[in-house]
Amino acid sequence: MSSQAAGERKRRKIRLEDLLNNNIWDVDPRPHIRLDTSKCRDCNYKPCVLLCPTGCYTTHGDDVLFSYEGCVECGTCRVVCPEEAITWEYPRSGRGIHFRFS
């Protein structure tokens, strides 16, 4: 590969899931976040989708799909949800994200 091509490759974005693979979690089998998805259909902005740093919330038509496994426990989704559809707790007993270099 030419050095220019190497440079181009390096300037490409890393996929979010690959970024997250650098982190360590001990996922709580019991979800620490619950989402009342019935409230999401009528939500105009769905701010959780663009603001959750780890992409836990995605849209499918008017619906919001959700997974808690990649959560880094920042709490942003709970704060920005205009419908108060998110019940948010910390993961139990030492579970969840384990930062090492932050």
Binding site: L19, L50, V72, R78, R92, S102
Partner: protein, 422 residues
């Protein structure tokens, strides 16, 4: 749990560990409760800590995991590929870079060495209330009693909220910080930035990096890694986000300011955390109740000076003052007795600077700061520096750069506002 403690501290972050350390040193029987596997594992920050208040809160800071002492400060105003940078080099030595995860672990270990009992992997669900006063904490089916509780639970402050002592957080209260820590080759940082081996660089930037939203970016040199990230104020972000926040951070990494430093690097961690935003909104109505003191981020003790944030030093300092107030209370842990904590805090540099810089948040809500002015400034300098034959006089370049962008009276009013509030 069973044992009885003089003091229970919720959260082994900078505030809680400082409170526990300073209490244990004074002979109190302290339980320091942490929800993570170890102290620091849930902590994240931009990248630098101001040392002096920390030296007062903890003995032996020279043994702390300090990466680099900041000797170079940069502030950049960014408009796409163009940017204007102000650089200050001084004697430095007032602030250092580190991983907050390590620094917090060190702080908690100081508390343990002083005699505090560290209990990890325990989430505090709520306060134990007896006879209208705080009498300990509850976790699941366990109760832990104490004469007084120090709340250092951090910015989300679920415990305070559940106890009805603070309102639910709203987007106005907080900002979101997202960061990548990027490992680079040994020696790269010295080479890139002209630094000595324990010297560091702190770099903040604003403008198009936040898509015109209130917020900005940060870049810090750690020992052999770089911390690069973005802060977005949620108040305007709820309706104003144009793309995913991860995309915005990745665009920083591969963008014109930083790609040359990080292109051979490897991302070690991707983290996020909220910080207190509007200090007047997030401050609880009071910081003491009967049997309870509130410290650190939970108390909204973050100071945004406009070009730098301080949160770790203020947290540690508040923990230290909470310990002092508990000692001075001599067993009377009523709110009126603990009020001394709030008084000491507000009289200290923390309270004074919170007051002094309270207008900065209003300033940040001015959208022109993040959109029109970066365009204006880069447009001005482009005209001054880039020409083939004839050049521009300053006044010509200025009026051309601002044409159709922002009116002269508007600029004068905004400048006055910046002068008054910064």
């Amino acid at each position: 749990m069973g044992d009885r403690f003089d003091v229970v501290v919720i959260g082994a972050g900078p505030a809680g560990s400082s409170a526990a350390y300073n209490l244990a040193k004074r002979g109190f029987k302290v339980a320091l409760i942490e929800r993570g596997r170890k102290p620091g594992s849930k902590n994240m920050f931009g990248g630098r800590v101001y040392a002096k208040p920390l030296e007062e809160a903890f003995d032996g800071l020279d043994k702390a995991p300090i990466h680099r002492w900041v000797v170079k400060e940069r502030l950049s105003i960014v408009n796409g590929e163009e940017y204007v940078t102000l650089e200050y080099s001084g004697s430095g030595g007032k602030s250092f870079t580190t991983y907050l995860t390590d620094l917090t672990d060190w702080m908690a270990s100081k508390a343990v060495d002083a005699g505090a009992t560290l209990i990890t992997e325990v989430v505090v669900d709520r306060l134990l209330i007896r006879d209208g006063r705080v009498a300990g904490i509850v976790s699941g089916s366990d109760e832990l009693e104490a004469d007084v509780v120090v709340d250092a639970e951090g910015v989300n402050r679920l415990v305070l909220e559940k106890s009805g002592l603070v309102e639910r957080l709203t987007p106005r209260h907080v900002a979101l910080g997202v960061k990548e820590v990027i490992k680079v080759e040994k020696g790269d940082i010295e080479k890139f930035f002209g630094l000595g081996e324990d010297e560091g660089l702190a770099w903040v930037f604003m403008g198009s990096v936040s898509d015109g939203l209130p917020g900005g970016g940060f870049f810090y040199t750690n020992r052999d890694s770089l911390s690069l990230g973005l802060v977005i104020y949620l108040e305007k972000a709820v309706e104003g986000m144009k793309r995913h926040i991860y995309d915005m951070v990745e665009d920083l990494r591969i963008g014109p300011l930083f790609s040359k430093y990080v292109e051979n690097g490897r991302v070690m961690e991707y983290s996020a955390h909220m910080i207190p935003a509007d200090p007047r909104a997030i401050r609880p109505p009071r910081l003491v109740w009967d049997g309870l003191l509130v410290t650190g981020d939970a108390a909204g003790l973050l100071i945004n000076m406009g070009y730098t944030y301080r949160g770790v030093d203020t947290a540690a300092y508040s923990g230290m003052l909470a310990a002092k107030a508990i000692e001075e209370a001599e067993g009377d842990y009523s709110a009126s007795s603990l009020k001394r904590y709030e008084e000491m805090l507000m009289k200290s540099y923390v309270g004074r600077d919170l007051e002094k810089f309270k207008g900065v948040h209003d300033l940040y809500m001015n959208p022109r700061l993040f959109k029109e002015y970066p365009i204006l400034l880069t447009g001005l300098l482009r005209r001054l520096y880039e020409f083939d034959y004839g050049g521009y006089r300053l006044s010509e370049a200025f009026s051309e750069a601002r044409r159709g962008l922002v009116s002269l009276p508007r600029i004068i009013l905004d400048l006055l506002e910046v002068y008054r509030k910064l």
